[in-house]
Symmetry: none
Subunit: 143 residues, 2 copies
DNA sequence: CCTATACTTAACCAGATGGTTGACTATCAG
DNA sequence: CTGATAGTCAACCATCTGGTTAAGTATAGG
């Protein structure tokens, strides 16, 4: 009954919910690989605290760590973000709703399949997968 | 020091990190407005537990509640997801890049046993992010 | 009025989270 | 070998999270 959602999404979103961790990811997106202490430098907290954040990011699959000598290089791994992005894109039609309505008005629904034309009621928002930048593969059925 | 990240992203990602809450949002994306007890019905947990989840979603701005008589209608509000989506999209080139690299590997197959190597690689290895749709996205590693 | 329904609030609890300090291991440089 | 550097581990602590039960409020309906 409740649609099953993989635990990896849990860990991904939870990892992204902390500003320190998002800043770490931002830093890793600038450089190819960064050592742990270099990563920690800009922050006001202790090194073990950063380590814990890196552990969370690693458990979420968002960073990899590779030891070479005594320095440990951290690298961004963005695939889990892709999964999160696809989950979010199922809701894209809700925030692009107004834009879609405007487009539909301007373009006179020419791009819609005939079965969906002339259904401009604002309450029935469903089944308007407008191909934008990414894939909005939302549920089609209406309750 | 650290680039400032708004607290609303914290709340949005944190709200999305729970499977129950994602299921609630999925339910709300099917119907225009759903009462609290209808929302709670499919779940094995108590009503106050669902209430707490709805509070979290409300604090994140992901649902609105409107009382009418003794029933409270909940509605999806997707704007915070838009913000989260835009944050994620700043990293899109990374998963696209890596997929391109993987694809280049598969086409180049220098790592394959010679019996499985076939024709040469036509695509450039380090390409800019280009829109691709056929992704062999197998399960990301689970715990 | 009386009672069932719909929701809310409060108190409590176990476990996760986010930080600390201090001690410890491993490696590089002299 | 010695000492500094890079990172990890362990114990501790406060707060947050996600659930419970029990009691309370408000409205709809007979």
């Amino acid at each position: 009954m409740v649609d099953y959602q993989p635990a990896s999404l849990d860990r991904t979103f939870a990892a992204l919910a902390d500003p320190t961790r998002r800043a770490l990811l931002a830093r890793l997106s600038d450089s190819d690989a960064v050592s742990v202490s270099d990563l920690a430098k800009p922050f006001a907290m202790s090194l073990p605290a950063i380590m814990k954040h890196l552990d969370v990011l690693k458990d979420a699959g968002l960073v990899t760590r590779e030891k070479s000598g005594r320095i440990v290089s951290c690298r961004l791994r963005a695939e889990p973000m892709h999964e999160a992005n696809e989950w979010l894109n199922r809701y894209q039609r809700f925030w692009t709703e107004r834009l879609d309505q405007l487009e539909a008005l301007l373009e006179n629904d020419a791009w819609l399949p005939p079965s969906l034309q002339n259904q401009a009621s604002p309450s029935s928002v469903d089944s308007r997968p407008r191909p934008r930048k990414s894939l909005p593969r939302g549920p089609i059925r209406k309750k």
